[in-house]
């Protein structure tokens, strides 16, 4: 098994990296949507993030990633109550996955052979306390996306089927990626992602060369390459941990709240999700930058990621929502 490409070794793509780090700081921001061309390192970044994050402590025999044997939703199934450290789960959700696989279903194997009615947890249980990654999220069947977003927002998976009735916590950060050329995501779904970023192939030659050089080093001498970057990754990990600890102490003055609201009104984004996410993301950013209060700069930095997918869509506006958000940000946050 090869080890993932180090997160800090990814060249450029600052916005994508920042969005992912912020969800690591505050998972309640609610997911990242990465839209962009092929071969721009979308999947690389997600897989790298898993390796970057600190391990979680789980009950070794629990299929639901519980941190306490008493908290396991299906106590009978726990085979071993020892607490072990495991890397933060990053679960890949393949296209064409069935609902059964996602939410879990009756364990057919047991049912057939032992006549026992037992719930077999699905991918949502495995992703608890970690990340759920969907490549080509725009091609996923709509009803699966609905289901995922519902669970992602409520943090709980409720299964009522085949006479089974089970609910288990499923708190995860949803990361979706896709290429808008191949079909768009429904507008209702866009809004449910916390942050969205647009990635492009790096346009300057030097960074393209750097990408290829690093990839080559990684592929030919992995050990040395990982060693070289492990320090950077460790530094970033510590920063994330420190930011998590600081997060509760970061204050947002009332003028910041007002500006969040003004921004969202000026952009005409529906609902209050925009404001909430903007504030959360700005707070996480402040914590990550070792500040104890949210500044206007933080709002400015994060506004595009937090709001660009919430605009009333003018799907033919080629200028793109990034430009529109930027325009409004410049107007409102003088």
């Amino acid at each position: 098994m090869t080890q993932a490409f180090p997160f800090s070794a990814i060249v450029g793509q600052e916005e994508m990296k920042r969005a992912m780090v912020l969800t690591a700081v505050d998972p309640t921001i609610g997911g990242v949507l990465v839209f962009g061309d092929r071969g721009t390192g979308k999947s690389t970044a997600v897989r790298a993030l898993a390796a970057l994050l600190p391990p979680i402590r789980v009950v070794s025999g629990c299929a639901y990633n519980s941190d306490d044997p008493r908290a396991c939703p299906d106590p009978d199934s726990v085979t071993d109550t020892e607490i072990v450290e495991r890397p933060t789960p990053v679960v890949d959700l393949p296209l064409g996955v069935t609902e059964d696989r996602v939410v879990g279903a009756l364990d057919i194997e047991r049912a057939l052979t032992q006549g026992e009615k037992r719930f077999e947890p699905g991918l949502l249980a495995r992703a608890h306390r970690g990340y759920l990654y969907i490549d080509e999220v725009n091609l996923l069947e709509d009803h699966i996306v609905d289901l995922l977003l519902d669970v992602a927002v409520s943090g709980e998976n409720v299964v009522e089927r085949e006479g089974l009735s089970i609910r288990h916590p499923a708190k995860f950060v949803l990361v979706g990626s896709g290429n808008p050329e191949e079909g768009e995501l429904r507008p209702q779904l866009l809004d449910r992602f916390g942050l969205s970023v647009e990635v492009l192939s790096p346009s300057d030659i030097d960074s393209r060369i750097e990408v290829i050089r690093r990839r080559d080093q990684y592929e030919t001498d992995q050990k040395r390459f990982l060693k070289r970057w492990s320090k950077e990754d460790a530094k970033l990990r510590n920063e994330i941990l420190a930011a998590r600890a600081r997060l509760g102490k970061v204050k947002a003055e009332s003028f910041i709240l007002e500006e969040c609201a003004r921004l969202c009104i000026a952009l005409g984004s529906d609902g209050l999700r925009g404001e909430l996410t903007l504030l959360r993301a700005a707070r996480a950013l402040a914590a990550f930058e070792s500040k104890l209060s949210v500044e206007r700069e933080h709002l400015k930095t994060i506004a595009a990621s937090a709001l660009r997918h919430r605009l009333r869509r003018d799907p033919l506006d080629d200028a793109g929502s990034t430009v529109r958000v930027q325009r409004v940000v410049d107007e409102v946050l003088v």
């Binding site: 064409g96 057919i108 490549d135």
Partner: protein, 558 residues
């Protein structure tokens, strides 16, 4: 292999390089009909990639087969759990995907995920003709793209891969030193050839490394780079379907020396030597292909990747229902077994049918249900003739754009047909991608005659084709109605008009709803008649107010 390296020579080289670095290079995409060349190539795969074992996949391979799982049939038979091993489970194998053009997006996603993990290499055997092709998600993860079409018996030699050479090269692979400037040149070359995907230069570098290792060198030299880039970049130079359409139509037919030179000047590359060397090694017909593809793209036959996807169209599966088999009902086997499963222990103790392993009663039967809702397809037939262009092509475009926005909001599919000169072209097959539609529309030039009948014919064919796929087509015709080219290409107003009328009646016979938008300077009676023949709504394009059109269409079509 006398002049430029033949396709066969390239195939041989690709295979040798892949043998040296099977996982790093991803694999080979081979476009070829069945035949001697393909057979011989496949035969060489096994020995070439040894000790990896060949695992054959077919496009409809199921998840259970791929990843392993419960063998339901065997489990029922034996009464104990029988697992089957997945095809991807074995580490030391290479995958051969037959009929790769038929692989659905779901399989493509699984295979690309697997390729990303770097455990397997994949040989995709693509028998597709014309538009059919391997899903781009897989294609971009395979270093080598080969095309055996046009390969005759004479071109084929023996494919002998010497395993001792390969083994030796494998050992040298990691140690090959690479000068920084060569990396730079590979990157620049990719940019100049319009290849944006960063995987391509990465593959080129790996291929160059493998080539150096194969030749026993400790450091990479220009020759390795030239050979590797011509193999990797050559086919990709015209592969990229997302390449934006050039602003003017004349430009893309001469992709030869002149155009390349212009591009080069704009980019100011430090040296052109490499590019020249590479172009020199490209097979001669490649440039022809490049031209023909460019033309094809201009004509708009290039396929949007959205077109074949069925994902959203299958109808949403509803929970299975209790019911009786028979008629058109389909048994949901798994749900049935699930329903029966909890009772097995009790039923086993029943007095009868003791020899049965599984006890299923009729009350357990579950039926499959789908919520089948066919999608709407809006076919725009846009008149791009000289007269229309003079009149109000720009306004028509504006109206189409507004309609597109509506279509987007309702998740309709859209297709775009333009007619001008002597024929009609499908600029965009049915898709949901607005970005593409808009680009195609913006790049639509005006001029030439008005082959109205041809436009209607193309619309009808597209409508029929997509009706069979479960879409509900609607035709929106935007024209100024002065048909002057008949179906057979003759320039005769009378014949053109009668052809258009005949075609309109045929569309009506198929009961395809339609709307006719008159984009002429003043209202045309001939168009009103045509609308009657079509049983369509006639709507003169209101002056400079595209919004009204869109509203009108909305209300007419519901």
């Amino acid at each position: 292999m006398s002049r430029s390296p033949s396709v066969w020579g390239q195939a041989e080289l690709a295979l040798r390089l892949l043998s040296v670095d099977p996982t790093g290079l991803g694999g080979i995409w081979l476009r070829s009909r069945t035949g001697v060349a393909r057979d011989r190539f496949i035969a060489a795969l096994g020995p070439g990639l040894a000790p990896r074992k060949m695992v054959r996949l077919h496009p409809s391979v199921s998840d259970d087969q791929l990843f392993g799982g419960l063998d339901l049939a065997a489990t029922l038979n034996a009464g104990t759990t029988v697992k089957q091993n997945g095809l991807l489970a074995e580490d030391n194998s290479f995958l051969v995907l037959t009929m790769a053009e038929r692989a659905e997006v779901t399989l493509a996603a699984r295979l690309s995920q697997n390729l990303d993990l770097g455990q397997h290499s994949l040989i995709a055997l693509d028998e597709g003709v014309e538009d059919e092709a391997l899903h781009p998600a897989i294609a971009q993860r395979l270093a080598f793209h080969l095309d055996f079409s046009g390969l005759t018996h004479r071109d084929i030699g023996n494919l002998a891969i010497r395993s001792d050479q390969i083994e030796a090269a494998k050992g040298r692979l990691v140690a090959v030193r690479i000068r920084a400037d060569l990396i730079k040149e590979i990157t620049l070359l990719a940019i100049r050839l319009g290849i944006h995907d960063l995987r391509a230069p990465i593959f080129a570098l790996r291929a160059a490394r493998a080539h150096a290792a194969l030749e026993g060198r400790k450091a990479l030299i220009e020759k390795d780079v030239v050979i590797a880039t011509s193999l990797v970049f050559g086919p990709r130079a015209f592969l990229d379907p997302i390449e934006p359409l050039p602003p003017r139509a004349e430009e893309d037919c001469n992709l030869d020396a002149e155009a390349t030179e212009n591009k080069e000047q704009a980019l100011k590359p430090p040296e052109d030597l490499l590019l020249e060397a590479m172009v020199a090694t490209l097979p001669e017909n490649l440039l022809d292909q490049l031209k023909s593809r460019a033309k094809a793209r201009k004509a708009g036959t290039s396929s949007g990747s959205g077109e074949r996807r069925k994902g959203n169209r299958r109808g949403r599966p509803k929970p299975s229902m209790r019911g009786q088999l028979g008629g058109a009902n389909r048994l949901d086997l798994v749900a049935t077994l699930r329903a029966a499963a909890p009772w097995q222990a009790i039923r086993r103790s029943a007095k009868y049918a003791l020899d049965r392993k599984v006890h299923i009663r009729s009350t357990d039967i579950r039926l499959k249900k789908f919520e089948d809702r066919s999608d709407r397809l809006l076919i725009f037939v846009v008149d791009a003739s000289g007269s229309a262009a003079l009149a109000r092509l720009a306004e028509a475009k504006g109206a189409v754009e507004l309609l597109l926005a509506e279509a987007y909001a309702r998740r309709d599919h859209v297709a775009l047909i333009a007619f001008r000169g002597e024929s009609a072209d499908i600029l965009l097959p049915p898709t949901r991608s607005l970005v593409q539609t808009k680009r195609r529309l913006a790049g639509l030039p005006g001029g030439g005659g008005t082959p109205l009948a041809a436009g209607l014919e193309a619309a009808m064919e597209l409508a029929q084709l997509n009706r069979t796929k479960g879409l509900t087509p609607t035709i929106a015709l935007l024209t100024d109605g002065r048909a002057n080219i008949a179906l057979n290409g003759d320039c005769s107003r009378i014949e053109a008009a009668s052809d258009a009328t005949a075609m309109a009646r045929r569309i009506r016979d198929h009961q395809t709803p339609a709307i006719v938008i008159d984009t002429g300077m003043r209202q045309q009676t001939s168009l009103q008649n045509l609308a009657q023949d079509l049983d369509a709504v006639y709507l003169p394009l209101p002056r400079a107010d595209a919004h009204k059109v869109s509203q009108a269409i909305e209300t007419t079509l519901g």
